[in-house]
């Protein structure tokens, strides 16, 4: 092959290459998802089942409002915990594992930009978190549905004689308003959004971290600061009150650098019976999208020239 023909074959190869290919990203994402599933992560569902069934059975001598609330609290608590752990630990494991298995080299020697590799990995972990949350939600909603019907039957039996249709419908309304309702889906979405930001944080950290353990610890610290930063801001920047310049500077830096994860905590209100307005859900989703874009970009800056 002459030099001229080699050049033309290279240019024809390059002309068919897209700077960003969604199919490549999806292929990596799917591969990441399979990789994580093979790690038998779904065994956590057993623990989750035990937790919510336990919460369902242990508090039978409480008022039905307390019973339903405890069930929702335990379920949402477990969902938040599992989703956050999956996001942080899963993401922290990915790049080191790919290096260890040498999969990373195989991928990067193909025409796959590093940016696509990172996006694919992130989407893979988010897909896993989403699937886990869907499975947990199905289990949670099923138990809640059964419990609210059980409570309705118990409360109906406590009536002297047969309750009137009016009494029955009022009782049903009272119980069901604190049981399974559409609003809970917003809670699950909020848990997912927070876990997504946590995964993006872990992705940034893993691009410069020296070990998996370091990534997990640093990500957890950022996760914690993310929850407390709005508190620091409220404390150091109250209306009309001025604290020391240094304190305000530090609080400002913390607020600028670290994500505000407190924003995603809407589950507490939802369990109390409050509704998240649709525009707030859109805002939260939009902000999560922004976080994912910016953190992926930062990850790429750090990862683009990293020696592997």
């Amino acid at each position: 092959m002459t030099q001229g023909t080699e050049r033309s074959s290279n240019s024809s190869l390059n002309s068919g290459f897209k700077v960003f290919s969604l199919s490549r990203v999806l292929a990596i994402a799917l591969n990441t998802f399979t990789q994580l599933v093979r790690m038998k992560v779904f065994y956590f569902l057993l623990i989750f089942s035990v937790l919510i069934i336990g919460a369902n059975l242990l508090f039978l001598n409480f008022t039905f409002e307390q019973e339903l609330k405890i069930l929702q609290d335990v379920s949402f608590g477990a969902m938040t915990l599992f989703a956050s752990i999956f996001s942080i630990v899963g993401t922290a494991l990915l790049i080191p594992k790919d290096i260890e298995d040498r999969t990373l080299y195989t991928i990067l020697t193909k025409p796959v930009p590093r940016f696509e590799y990172l996006i694919g990995k992130l989407l893979g972990i988010l897909f896993l978190v989403a699937v886990s949350l869907v499975l947990m939600s199905i289990l949670f909603f099923a138990v809640l549905y059964m419990r609210q019907h059980g409570i309705l039957a118990e409360e109906t039996n406590q009536f002297r004689g047969q309750p009137t249709p009016e009494q029955l419908s009022s009782l049903k309304e009272t119980i069901f308003s604190q049981g399974l309702r559409l609003e809970l889906i917003n809670g699950v979405i909020a848990v997912f959004l927070k876990a997504s930001v946590a995964a993006a944080i872990a992705l940034v950290v893993s691009t410069f971290a020296s070990s998996t353990l370091f990534t997990i610890i640093v990500s957890l610290v950022i996760y914690f600061i993310g929850h407390a930063q709005s508190m620091a801001l409220d404390y150091y920047f109250p209306e009309g009150d001025m604290h020391g310049a240094l304190q305000r500077f530090i609080a400002g830096i913390v607020a600028i650098i670290f994500p505000n994860l407190q924003m995603f905590n809407v589950v507490d209100g939802i369990v109390s019976g409050q509704s998240v307005p649709v525009n707030v859900m859109f805002r939260l989703t939009g902000l999560t999208g922004l976080y994912l874009c910016i953190y992926s970009f930062v990850s790429w800056i750090l990862f683009a020239k990293k020696e592997l």
């Binding site: 405890i70 609290d73 607020a255 407190q262 507490d268 998240v276 910016i294 750090l302």
Partner: protein, 380 residues
């Protein structure tokens, strides 16, 4: 292969670029996040402030959990702890844990309800039973004059504070009404709070009836109460025994007032003007009954009254007893009353049953035909 996107910054250059991106992003997102937080605050999602006092109340783990997105779960854990303390009759701990649960989730009305219940009923009942068994006069005095009222007040404060946090719910104003009614024996304040509760969208119908009942107990507010109770009575959807009794009592009040302020002639003139107002006929009958030979005229006034379809059923009973006063018509009056009792026993009060029993005795009604068989009295 990775040179499709050229990126030729040095290591430090990349770090600086990352910092620049993060800082710029920080400046962009902080206003967006603040407005989202404001929205959430507006809709009641930011009621708990994780300040120094909250840190003092909660354990370290509880505090971390609460700021880490597990506030509701932490509140439930403290709810369980309060329940445990309740079982141990440790009322100070119950109060402390209830304060925590209500501060963590102030918009969950059940937390306030349970807190008020534990203080105003459970702790109160516990000390009342201790009072009964105590032999020390000083201790008795302390319990009765200080501890018991103190717990009722604490319960009231919980309920009032909860009512402020949950204005859309009927529950806490109802609890405040219950405390004023059952613990302070203050029907006026109880009525005010029951009314407030009854205005909530989710309020069951019995709360408005509780308002009417308590209003009917308020001295000096009989006319207002009559307006409310008569509306409930005439509405007729749920005519409870209490509504019937209140209605009769308040109508008696209105009739007495008419009797005191109007002469027979004035009442007769008023009846001519407004014949649909049966209270005027009842007042006229009362006037006649005050004179020695007015029974027949009173019966006649009642006859006119009973033709009015709006007149409550208890006037039939009154008419029956009036007719029974005359020995000549006593038997027919008894048969009328007996029929009435069989079909609408609710219009007979305890004293009416005693009177009916007396009539049966005077008529020598055989035991198997008697309406009132000794212990057959119903309670008001």
């Amino acid at each position: 292969m990775n040179n499709h996107i050229k990126f030729n910054l040095s290591k430090y250059g990349r770090i600086l670029l990352c910092i620049a991106v993060l800082v710029s992003f920080g400046f962009i997102r902080i206003p967006l996040e603040s407005s989202t937080e404001n929205e959430l605050e507006k809709y009641g999602f930011r009621d708990w402030v994780p300040d120094i006092s909250a840190r003092e109340q909660l354990t370290q783990a509880g505090f971390l959990g609460a700021i880490g997105g597990f506030r509701s779960l932490v509140a439930s854990i403290y709810d369980l702890r309060a329940h445990e303390a309740f079982r141990d009759k440790d009322w100070a701990s119950v109060e402390r844990f209830r304060k925590i649960t209500t501060s963590l989730q102030p918009r969950f009305s059940k937390h306030w309800d349970l807190a008020a219940w534990d203080m105003a009923w459970n702790a109160y009942a516990y000390y009342r039973s201790r009072l009964e068994f105590s032999e020390d006069d000083l201790e008795k005095w302390q319990i009765e004059k200080m501890i018991m009222p103190n717990y009722v007040e604490k319960g009231l404060n919980f309920a009032k504070e909860g009512a402020k946090w949950t204005p859309e719910s009927y529950l806490l104003p109802m609890v405040v009404g219950d405390i004023y009614s059952q613990k302070y024996n203050n029907p006026k304040l109880a009525a005010d709070w029951y009314f407030k509760s009854s205005q909530a969208e989710d309020a069951p119908t019995y709360i408005f009836r509780a308002y009417a009942t308590h209003l009917a107990k308020c001295k000096g507010m009989e006319e207002e109460a009559y307006g409310v109770v008569s509306n409930l009575y005439n509405d007729g959807k749920i005519r409870t025994l209490t509504i019937r009794r209140d209605m009769e009592r308040l109508e008696d009040f209105m009739i007495n007032k008419l009797v005191q302020t109007n002469s027979v002639d004035q009442l007769t003139a008023m009846i001519e003007k407004t014949p649909s107002n049966y209270l005027l006929n009842a007042a006229l009958a009362e006037h006649y009954l005050k004179s020695d030979d007015g029974t027949e005229l009173a019966i006649e006034a009642y006859r006119v009254l009973l033709k009015n379809p709006k007149a409550p059923q208890f006037y039939r009973r009154k008419f029956g007893f009036l007719v029974a006063l005359n020995p000549e018509t006593q038997l027919s009056a008894y048969q009328l009353l007996k029929k009435m009792y069989t079909s609408i026993p609710q219009i007979f009060r305890e004293k009416d049953l005693i009177e009916l029993s007396n009539i049966e005795t005077s008529l020598n009604v055989p035991l198997n035909e008697k309406v009132i068989k000794g212990s057959g009295l119903i309670n008001d």
